[in-house]
Amino acid sequence: MKQKIVNNMDILLEELHKITGRKAKWEEFLVSFMESYDSDAYEKKMRDSLANLVEEFKLSDIARGLDRIGEKIEGFPAGEVLRQVLQVADHALEEKNMVIKELKEVLAELATPTIRIWKDVVVAPLIGTLDSERAQSMAERLLEFVADTRAKVVIVDVTGVPLIDTIVGGFLIEMFNAVKLLGCEVVITGIKPSIAHTLVKLGVDFNMVTVKRDLESGLRYAISITEKEGKGAV
């Protein structure tokens, strides 16, 4: 069978080229198949070259390619190899999902940095678009942070948010209300004209929180009220 593959290599690769548009990976695969077939290292060697195929081509094309080889080469274990392909593909998919999950976690953390910028003052700059999942984990993170640091004021800066619709507006209101239940004040800064316009048109108002034009004036206000509170203490 090995000899047969060698003799028909060019024809085979031509056929495989028709299916997948490329032949280099197929050649590698056929060579390593011949080298390792019947040897102890077969399973392992095949895994590596099949991983290359899976990375390069669609699974359906690989299946068609293997069928074609099976038609041309008598005794070629097309079914067996396909089973291995599926195993390899499963494994690759799992790895990809893991990476996506990790990236999502990283993104969620990056997108909601919280900084203790002054005694009793925390700044949370929001960046990027918010969907309901992200908004929820952001709210959880911010509230934990506020409770841990015992901040008296949270400044939420929305300069980096391109769009606030009714849903996101609703989430922000919920988050602000939750922060206030902890005994902490909320100051929102950086609302752009276009966002102010949309918010009012949508009927979302932030009347339960203090609004300041930018981070600087928000911070100045936050410091002034925390210092005043400090003097008023028992």
């Binding site: 959880e140 409770a147 015992r150 008296k152 239940l181 902890l182 005994g183 008023g232 203490a233 028992v234």
Partner: protein
Amino acid sequence: MKDRVVTTIKLYNYLIVPVQIELDDSTVEAMQRQILSEIEEKAIEGVIIDVSLIDILDSYISYSLSETAIMAKMMGCDTVICGMQPHVALTLAQMGVNMRGIIFAQDLEDALSKLVKAREHS
């Protein structure tokens, strides 16, 4: 005093109520009665309810607390809730619960300073 369901501590003119039991509906009602009668008996000017040990506050319990605060206000007394856990706050906010008449504080210290401030204004 009969119907005492929670321990209370009187400090100056303030009444500190650390809630250390799981609140069911009748307990929360009994607690309301207890707080109101202690306000009258001990000439209390401010009530601090510490909920840091509570891990579920549903709409009825939070409504009762809010009701207690409004009743206390009618007797000339301010109410502060302190120490709410972040996940409880998130849940109440998401349900859309509106706890009127209550001042919120982080801890006992913050609660006392907010009460003092509220008394100054009134």
